[in-house]
Each structure stands twice: as structure tokens, then as C-alpha cells.
């Protein structure tokens, strides 16, 4: 077991444990704080998968923005019994267990039976197959920037613009929905 695998196991165990805390804790503020650990550990997984830009974005957006948003929503909505049980489960929890187990078993079955053509990570990391006229990017962030913005190379400019329109619609929609009606 090399260092990357060891780190992966440590991060994965903390990740799954804190995710179980998110769905298991009785105080919903504690659940929200466990969610911060989930997001930070997911960023660690992305770092292990050589996706530095995704890891930074994960820390900024999830561990920063989304958590603050959830905590603000918790502060603005008061539940009656915040101390004892502010995060109740409904009476069909066994149905949720069955559905989750079925979905998980299906995914794991698909993982085991489907053939994926993979190579070891050491040979999969190189950017040497870059055969276009674009210069070889020095790191992951520059590579993603080229893919998102570059007008000459193969790029995702149009989906990026559509994503910005989606964000604009979400901002306006959140303001309109959350506005106090007079």
C-alpha cells in the first residue's frame, strides 16, 4: 500500500463517517457543521485524483458559500425543539433504508460487471497525448482554463456561457422567491 492509497483510505473513512453524522445527528446545526467536514474531505479526494482546480473550487464554493447559505437558512427558520430533536426522521425510515440499499447494490453490481478500460494512474496522468496546436499547459489550473476559455483549442466556451446564464437566473429567482411580500 503506497502513500496515495493510505491517504485515500484515511480521507475516505473520515468522509463516510462525517456523512453518516450528517444524516444521523439530532441537532441540525451539528449536521450542518459535519457537512463542512464532508466537503473538505471531498476536496482531499479531488487532490488525490490530480484535480487541483476542482479541490480549490470545492473549498471556496461548498465549504465556504453553500455552508454559510445553509447556516443562514437555519438561523432564519426556527424549529420548535432546537435542543432535543431539530432534525427528525419520518415514519417511513425503513423504506429509505431499503431504497438506499437497493440503489447502492445496483451501483456496486454495475461497477463489478461492467468492463472499464483503465490503465494505472501513473501512466494516465501525462498530458503528452495533447496533439492539437495549443501549447502544453503547465498545470491543472491552466489546463482547465484553456479548456474553458480558449477560442482556438477545443473548448467548452458555450457550456460555460450557458452556466453563467443559469447562475444569473438562479440569482434573480432567489431574490424574487425570497422577497418579502408587502
Amino acid at each position: 500500500m503506497d502513500l496515495a492509497t493510505l491517504l485515500f483510505w484515511i480521507v475516505a473513512v473520515i468522509l463516510v463517517g462525517s456523512a453518516l453524522l450528517v444524516v444521523g445527528l439530532n441537532n441540525i446545526v451539528h449536521s450542518a457543521l459535519a457537512l463542512v467536514v464532508v466537503f473538505a474531505m471531498a476536496a482531499g479526494i479531488y487532490l488525490l485524483a490530480n484535480a487541483e482546480f476542482i479541490a480549490i473550487v470545492q473549498i471556496l464554493i461548498y465549504a465556504g458559500a453553500v455552508t454559510i447559505l445553509i447556516l443562514f437558512a437555519l438561523m432564519l427558520t426556527r424549529t420548535v425543539n432546537i435542543q432535543t430533536n431539530s432534525n427528525p426522521i419520518n415514519k417511513y425510515w425503513w423504506l429509505g433504508v431499503i431504497i438506499s440499499a437497493l440503489v447502492g447494490a445496483t451501483i456496486l453490481f454495475a461497477v463489478t460487471v461492467s468492463p472499464h478500460f483503465v490503465t494505472p494512474a501513473s501512466s494516465a496522468l501525462g498530458y503528452s497525448a495533447h496533439n492539437s496546436t495549443c501549447p502544453l499547459p503547465p498545470n491543472n489550473v491552466v489546463y482547465i482554463g484553456n479548456l474553458l476559455y480558449s477560442p482556438t483549442c477545443y473548448s467548452y466556451v458555450l457550456p460555460f456561457e450557458i452556466a453563467s446564464v443559469v447562475l444569473l437566473v438562479a440569482i434573480i429567482g432567489a431574490i424574487v422567491i425570497g422577497r418579502e411580500e408587502e
Partner: protein, 106 residues
């Protein structure tokens, strides 16, 4: 040795935990937390596929990581709109319990 199955199984386990939270929770914000965990599980799967993708020419486009970026974008938009809806419903009904959200029931 880190293999693709590590990422896939971790993503599957996280997805199940998030699905369980989204199904059984009665607090609407807790349901949203479950959905965020599910989106993170999908992101982990996509980034894992991106790491082990060697099929030319797709491996040069980092398709999995680009997908993960767009998923993060949509998840942020979804969280903002959904929490605005929760706060708006709370203002009218003084509850965040999803079993009380029956105003669209005929």
C-alpha cells in the same frame, strides 16, 4: 495502488448515504444537505473517471473534471433557489417540516 474502483465504491457509498438523508429527513434543510452529499458523490465519481481516462482524444479534454465544474455551478444555483423557497414557505406557514408542505396537493 489506487484504482478506479476505489473512487467508484466511495462515490456509491456516499450517494447511498445522501439518498437516505434526502428520503427520510423531515426538515427541508436536512433534505437539501442530503442532496448536496449526493452531488458530491457524483463529482467524486466523475473526477475518478477523469483520472483513469486514457481513451484518445477524450483524455486530453479532462471531460470528467469539466463536468464536475458544471455540476458544482448547478449545485450552487440549486442551493440558493431551494433555500430561498424554504425561507419563503417558512414565512407563510411557520414550518420547515416537509410533511406539512401540502399546499400543492389537490
Amino acid at each position: 495502488m489506487l484504482t478506479l474502483n476505489h473512487f467508484l465504491v466511495l462515490g456509491a457509498v456516499l450517494f447511498c448515504i445522501g439518498l437516505y438523508g434526502a428520503i427520510v429527513k423531515r426538515n427541508a434543510i436536512a433534505v437539501l444537505m442530503g442532496i448536496e452529499i449526493m452531488l458530491n458523490a457524483v463529482n467524486i465519481t466523475l473526477v475518478g473517471f477523469s483520472l483513469f481516462n486514457t481513451a484518445k482524444p477524450y483524455s486530453t479534454y479532462l471531460t470528467g473534471q469539466i463536468f464536475a465544474i458544471f455540476i458544482i455551478t448547478v449545485a450552487a444555483a440549486e442551493a440558493a433557489v431551494a433555500l430561498a423557497m424554504v425561507i419563503s414557505i417558512y414565512r407563510k406557514r411557520s414550518t420547515v417540516d416537509v410533511t406539512d408542505f401540502d399546499m400543492m396537493k389537490w
